[in-house]
Homo-oligomer: 254 residues x 2
């Protein structure tokens, strides 16, 4: 199976690496900015181009551009007898504009440039127009990951939303924690064992069982003390209040 | 050094185990509910009591009750020539009411009943009235953990606040993620590799570098889509909006 990757962001570069490490034949990288395509392609001696008319004939095109660019890029793929997928969490299969066969290949993971990822642990969610293409993609992705699964567009959108809460928003809380602790003259590293354990716990017990802290105990004295410390930090004050209310409410649910 | 533990909650039970595993001499558990003291003491054949007048003479008393009970319990310790510490994040040393020497021993960790903890990775923060007691406590706790550090009351309060953000609130986001993903008919376990990687990333790059997602990309189409999905979930809608605003603002900071 010959694969062409379109896009050169974090998902595209990690996906390229994941496929190559699994000895999948990635033939070419396309990106509208040539330097970015080159940056991904060069280390592996892959072909690369910034002209979509010059993309090679392949069995599978994976579009990992920004969400806004997917439609435009998909429209210009100059082949019909092929399979084209995008990797976006919240776009339907109908974002792909062409007469080829269509699908979605959604990796549930957070990819940053300078952080290696164990791809075999990344769940891949597949949606296709027909069963044959699902089987093909499933077979391909099982070379990369232990977890490959069929999913509907609606499930994928919900999955993406849940991922925003447990990944993007969690990371944002880390950035707040970092700024708060630095005010005490302590480095962010001080918090890392606590962050690790918070994550480790939900491997063994449910998130609700794992909940601790002043909000869970409805410890109003500490909550008021914390809110007073945040009185000049409007955003953090609001987040503290909202999350505390949510935890209290959750404790009181049946 | 002979130690008596007062309290029988999560912190008390984990601290007792941590000290015993490090061959520290824990002599007795006190708790106002006898059954709870027994539950901790029995497996190790320790003495236990629900009468504070019956606590043994010891070199160190560790009060790990609820924050509200610390003052009351500390008041009734019937010895002066000894060291008494509490383990609360946000209470001053002056919450201890007695003529003994005073201190605070704050473990920066989230303790749940059914989850084992690697105590050698738990940072312990110590505050005492005099250097001699600091040295004693430091020596003792270095048997348990690799990380033992002096800290002021003010630093400890700030540390506790940052811990609420990166632990308690993070865990609350896990509970939201669980409920959202279950609406798609998928188990919470689906999110665990993503949760792991989100936590792993900040071992190698800063939280700001690790940020990904629609808010970071200022992807209004996806953000509006997500908010529409949350329109009947008032609390989650507000959290989504607030966190998204925060991430956007942070991206635009110098």
């Amino acid at each position: 199976m010959k694969v062409v990757i379109l896009g050169a962001g974090n998902v595209a570069s990690h996906l390229t690496r994941a496929l190559l490490e699994s000895t999948v034949h990635v033939a070419q990288i396309y990106n509208r900015t040539l330097e970015k395509a080159e940056a991904i392609a060069k280390p592996y001696n892959l072909a690369y181009t910034d002209k979509i008319s010059e993309i090679q004939k392949a069995d599978l095109y994976i579009i990992s551009t920004s969400d806004e660019a997917i439609e435009e890029v998909s429209y210009h793929i100059p082949f019909d007898d092929t399979l084209v997928v995008h990797t976006a969490g919240s776009l339907g299969i109908d974002s792909l504009k062409g007469d080829y066969r269509k699908g979605v290949l959604y990796p549930l993971q957070t990819f940053s440039t300078d952080k290696a990822v164990r791809y075999e642990k990344v769940p891949f969610f597949i949606e296709t127009e027909n069963e044959e293409d699902f089987k093909k993609l499933e077979k391909l992705m099982l070379k990369v990951s232990e977890k490959v699964q069929k999913i509907t567009s609606e499930q994928r959108a919900t999955l993406h939303l849940s991922a925003v809460f447990v990944c993007n928003f969690v990371n944002y809380l880390y950035t707040i924690g970092e700024k708060v602790i630095e005010e005490a003259g302590l480095p962010f590293e001080t918090l890392v064992p606590l962050i690790d354990e918070t994550c480790q716990k939900i491997h063994e017990i449910t998130p609700k069982q794992a909940q601790t802290g002043p909000a869970k105990r409805e410890d109003q004295v500490i909550i008021e003390k914390h809110l007073a410390m945040l009185k000049n930090k409007n955003d953090w004050f609001q987040i503290y209040q909202l999350m505390t209310q949510g935890i209290v409410k959750q404790q009181n649910e049946l």
